[in-house]
Amino acid sequence: MTSALTGAKRFLFRFGFAYLVLYNFPFPFDYIPYVDVVFTPYFQMWKLLVPWVGSRLFHVDATTLPNGSGDTTWGYVQVFCYLVIALLAAAVWSIFDRKGRSHPRLYEGLRIYVRFALGATMISYGAVKVIKSQFPDPSVDRLLQPYGDASPMGILWTFMGASAAYNVFSGLSEMIGGLLLAFRRTALLGALVSAGVLLNIVLLNFCYDVPVKLLSCHLLAMAVFLILPDLRRLIDLLVLNRRVEAAAPRPFCTRPWLRRGIAVFATLAVLALTLFHLNRAAETSKLYGSQAPKGPLSGLWEVDEMSIDGQIRPPLITDTERWRRVIFGNTGQLAVQRMDDFRDRYLLAIDPKGKPGTLDLTRRFDPEWKTALAYAQPKPGFLTLQGLWGGHRLQVRLHRVEPPKFLLTTRGFHWINERPFNR
């Protein structure tokens, strides 16, 4: 009974080891510049394997690679592959290693690996909030969009984007969790903070249709994995009010000089990683944030007249083809608000090479849908567009308007509210 139990436990460990390494690989090599070239064949392998497994086993088309979404069919099939490979690895391992050894050092090594993999992710997610770039300030086209037209993910993004202070707070709690994980002494606290933060994130992702469910669940599971061995100590401390011993030293390596060396290296690595992520967030924010350089057409344009196939379309709000407003956002972004308030977004290139006076447009997440419009500015503050749009000839005259003073972005902070300003 006992040997069967330890046998099962050992199998479980081997499976967990294989799965966690597979899931996080090629961390930490993906942080080392230029080394990623070595892993290109590894990714190529997955790009061949996943669609093959998808079509053979599940008859699904798993060809859309993870993009902004991590919950693609591809993502699920890959997780399935991880599970199968980890099971096979654990089985083979158990067949060849029957001496009944346990793996204390390997276990300790795995814990260190998971600590750093989780910690690095928490720091990276924290950095893009502390320096606001994951949730940018709501754009003009967003501010003009009615709630009901937004998706649940859209409302979460707008909610987060609307407060810089709340971003900094959320980001700091993630970063603190990540940084505490880096040091063995504070790792338990780091795992607890991370688990608390991640539980909230997992729930946000499930409740607001955010396609980071797989990743956030894995991160939460990793935090719980790190807490598990200390669960009894935590219960003794928090509930049973018993004496709690210091955690037994779990040396990964015993030589003092090596241990000290590793500690110094780890500290420097975490510091470098934090700075790297903060710097990258600052660059993203500079490119896409509210301080981003504005293009020459940037701003809010109201449609004065629009004709489709030579037919002038009056501004009827029932006309779902006519445009109401065009918003040139930060570099590379254009949004169209139709007469029925629907908001459509495009990737934009102004004056692309060899085509001056042209706007090249691609619909977001629909790379097949492309068009080129000729634009002209007859006088300052006026704009004309013409070209083909979904097979129809389009002519649009617009004039620039100052965006309204939005309540959401101008309300500000108030110590005193005689009445709740809930509007």
């Binding site: 979404s69 009615p146 249709d209 709000i317 809930n422």
Partner: protein
């Protein structure tokens, strides 16, 4: 280990006297106010006292005319002045207590037992905080605090919302997230009820309350004072165990069990206390959940929908026989009619401005009135031509008006209809 109350330094005694006075003042008349139904009656004289004192202090000290009482907002001028009164009274109480204490000590030759008093204060704060967490949690577990977005919200642009409005609509749009937030609060509150689990409960409350405080400060929610106090109370409860927590979680040192705290009760009461507390916790949770259910039935997701509930698009409008097409340039033309609450009709015009009217709905007639101008009383006959199609005929601003409206189904709104998706090939961040 926590020094026992007999060895407290004089400074610590003075700080304790102040904190004791302040926390009791801040939470009083708890637990009287938590008594179902009777609470408001019992506490009315005490409320009246403050209602007299606060405006007086405001006027005398700050030349403020305080007329607005705390209601939906807990960050009124009234609250800030009251807070100042609490601080001053607590400081005076601590000073008087210190003087009297010195006299008594000289007379009797022994010090007062702060151990029991401290334990009593902790118990008081535990219950005050715990019941508040349970009641806030209950109003989320059965969504009443954050109802699903109203119809007028669904047609409101983000930019016209206030930060608090955005937070409310964000929360309201996911019932499951609201339930999760509520469960976290109820769990924190229930854990606070038992002495054994109180430390864990206080830690859960701190995690939840830090987030609530940050939301209140970041989204202009006028519960800043109250939520900050609740957070401070949770921190106060953790304070004696801070060293033990740091030993285990930061320093990796052994931690001794906390010193036994003085018992507040003896005899049969001591034996019965756990059962009494458990019964109280269960009863209060049930009461809070029932209150939330009741609120939801009256104003929230479970409220009965009024007749003609919906967002009605004005498809056709005819004034004195002349058709007014839905042109954006026709600023004053009605664009939509919204009926989401009984007795209220919202009108959104083509230029996106809106107006609200009192609505009187008969079997075949529909009459409106302005809230501030009872003379303005247009009236229409109405009939549902087909499900979701409505025809109005009557006189508006002295002109014969015929309106044809079409209901936008609730599911036509992306926010309502998107639903849950395990797989998203692309993020649907619309």
């Amino acid at each position: 280990m926590e020094p026992s109350a007999e060895t407290w330094s004089p400074t610590r005694r003075i700080v304790f006297r102040f904190v004791f006075s302040y926390l009791i003042l801040y939470n009083f008349p708890f637990p009287l106010d938590a008594i179902p139904w009777l609470g408001p009656i019992l506490t009315q004289p005490y409320t009246d006292l403050w209602n007299a004192l606060v405006p007086w202090v405001g006027k005398r000290l700050f030349h403020l005319a305080i007329t607005i009482r705390p209601g939906g907002s807990g960050d009124t001028t009234y609250n800030y002045v009251q807070l100042l009164c609490y601080l001053v009274i607590a400081a005076v109480a601590a000073a008087v207590w210190t003087l009297l204490g010195a006299v008594v000590q000289k007379r009797l030759g022994k010090r007062a037992d702060y151990g029991r008093l401290s334990a009593g204060l902790r118990t008081y704060v535990r219950f005050a905080l715990g019941l508040t967490m349970i009641s806030y949690g209950a109003s989320k577990v059965i969504p009443a605090q954050f109802p699903q977005p109203g119809l007028d919200q669904l047609i409101q642009p983000f930019g016209e919302a206030s930060p608090m409005g955005l937070l409310w609509t964000f929360m309201g749009s996911s019932a499951s997230y609201v339930v999760f937030s509520g469960l976290a609060e109820v769990a924190g509150g229930l854990l606070l009820m038992a002495r054994r689990t109180a430390l864990l409960g206080a830690l859960v409350c701190i995690a939840v309350l830090v987030n609530v405080v940050m939301l209140n400060f970041s989204y202009d929610v006028p519960v800043k004072l109250y939520s900050s106090h609740l957070l401070a109370m949770a921190l106060f409860l953790v304070l004696p165990d801070l060293r033990r927590l740091a030993n285990v979680l930061l320093l990796n040192r052994p931690a001794e069990p906390a010193a036994p705290r003085p018992e507040l009760t003896a005899g049969w009461l001591r034996r019965a206390a756990p059962f009494l507390v458990a019964a109280l916790a269960v009863a209060y949770t049930g009461y809070a959940l029932y209150g939330s259910y009741d609120g939801s039935k009256q104003y929230g997701n479970l409220a009965p929908r009024p007749p003609l509930y919906g967002v009605w698009n004005v498809d056709e409008l005819e004034v004195d026989g002349v058709a007014r097409p839905p042109l954006l340039t026709d600023a004053s033309r009605w664009r939509r009619m919204v009926i989401s609450y009984p007795g209220v009709l919202g009108v959104q015009r083509m230029d996106s401005t809106s107006a609200y009217y009192r609505l009187y709905l008969g079997k075949r007639r529909l009459a409106l009135a302005k809230f501030d101008d009872p003379q303005w009383k247009p009236s229409f006959s109405y009939r549902e031509i087909a499900p979701g199609l409505l025809a109005l005929e009557g006189t508006l601003e002295g002109k014969r008006t015929r309106i044809k409206l079409r209901r936008t189904p609730d599911t036509a709104f992306t926010l309502n209809s998107r639903g849950f998706h395990w797989i998203n090939e692309f993020p649907f961040n619309h």
